[in-house]
Symmetry: C2
Subunit: 224 residues, 2 copies
């Protein structure tokens, strides 16, 4: 019997991959529209390479993109990219169509709910608030980098304690086998992997979830 459901945040309650991909595309388009005289597909490929090389928290992706074309920094073009990126990210920061409906149904069923996610705590909270989900959960745990991030099961077990439900009656829903599912299996939770078609979920682990779903609302069938 499931009495508490915990969710990963990114790619579980909303579509991070679509958000970031769209934001990068629109950034490149805006830069071209502001005078960057290059071919879209090539520039988009180069931007993705820059992000892979320097990490997503690097501050000068667009300067590096210009540099890859032998161009000096041009503030108007850089700013056009930054504005388009942030506006697109904001526009795509919406829950999956069935996220809110599913969470409300869990409330009606009397289940406890929580989020267990990794990242910068204030940033993860900003996302929850902008998603309109800031008030939905009984507990939100954010593990900072270097802390007890998943697959460490500690934060899952603590979250279960906070809502007063035994791990054997807890469910974790997430997209990543090597993080969410592994942590959940270690914690003794029922584990559910959300697999979306456009995601290339890393299969570099033997970890198996108890269930696989393609839509978040799929958990309602499992709980029944």
């Amino acid at each position: 019997m499931v009495n508490a459901v915990f969710f990963d945040l990114d790619n579980t309650l909303y579509d991070t991959k679509l958000q970031v991909d769209s934001a990068r595309r629109n950034a490149v388009k805006a830069m071209i529209g502001s005078g960057l005289d290059v071919e879209f597909a090539d520039a988009f490929k180069r931007l993705n390479e820059v992000v892979s090389r320097h990490g997503s928290n690097f501050k000068n992706h667009y300067d590096e993109l210009l540099k890859s074309y032998g161009m000096a920094t041009e503030e108007k073009i850089i700013a056009a990219g930054i504005v388009a990126y942030h506006e697109t990210k904001k526009a795509y920061l919406v829950p999956y169509p069935d996220t809110i409906r599913t969470l409300l149904r869990l409330k009606e069923l009397g289940l406890k709910t929580g989020v267990v996610t990794d990242g910068v705590p204030v940033k993860q909270w900003e996302k929850l608030i902008m998603l309109g989900l800031g008030d939905f959960f009984d507990v939100v745990v954010v593990n900072s980098e270097g802390g007890r991030v998943k697959p460490d099961p500690t934060s899952l077990i603590e979250a279960a304690e906070k809502v007063g439900v035994d791990p054997s009656e807890c469910m974790i829903v997430g997209d990543r086998l090597d993080r969410d599912i592994l942590a959940g299996n270690r914690a003794g939770f029922t584990t559910v992997q959300l697999v979306k078609g456009h995601q290339s979920v890393p299969r570099d682990t033997q970890e198996e979830p108890d269930y696989m779903i393609t839509e978040l609302s799929g958990i309602l069938e499992i709980i029944k």
Copy 2:
């Protein structure tokens, strides 16, 4: 005869003070709505004090606000403030009602236009783009902190050269006597101060503008 008009950006093409004041108010309201149990007026006053003390580019205004109440950092409350602040800033980042009309009229009259502003170049360009003004000007000069910021007249003289107009035929429009007007007088420009009712323009300088206006479109009368 005026053949080129240069504008300061902040508080000249749009209302920065209203923007920041509204953003701070909404940040405090959102924090209270997220569980900060304090009185609005008192918290708003404290937040303004925190910003005065630490500068507007300080990253932890809201943590300091909580600290002033003897509270520890609480990510949900901090994030609520940050989200409300940025959403309000964005919503208020619009030109004055007569800004675009005035700029278009200058185009029709065949005058050159430019922006001469101080700040982080990419940030100032982001504002111009979000204001919808990124493509309006023949020249945009942004002086970084520590560079030749106003009242140094160098950037005004360079901007005049770039559009090929003699300083005696150039106008500078800005809100600050100690920066825009002083720089303009030194450069030999016609100087116009934009004075908005709610602004407390520092009067700690003897500098006098050639003209004072209360609406940006007032320059059209002067040019006539």
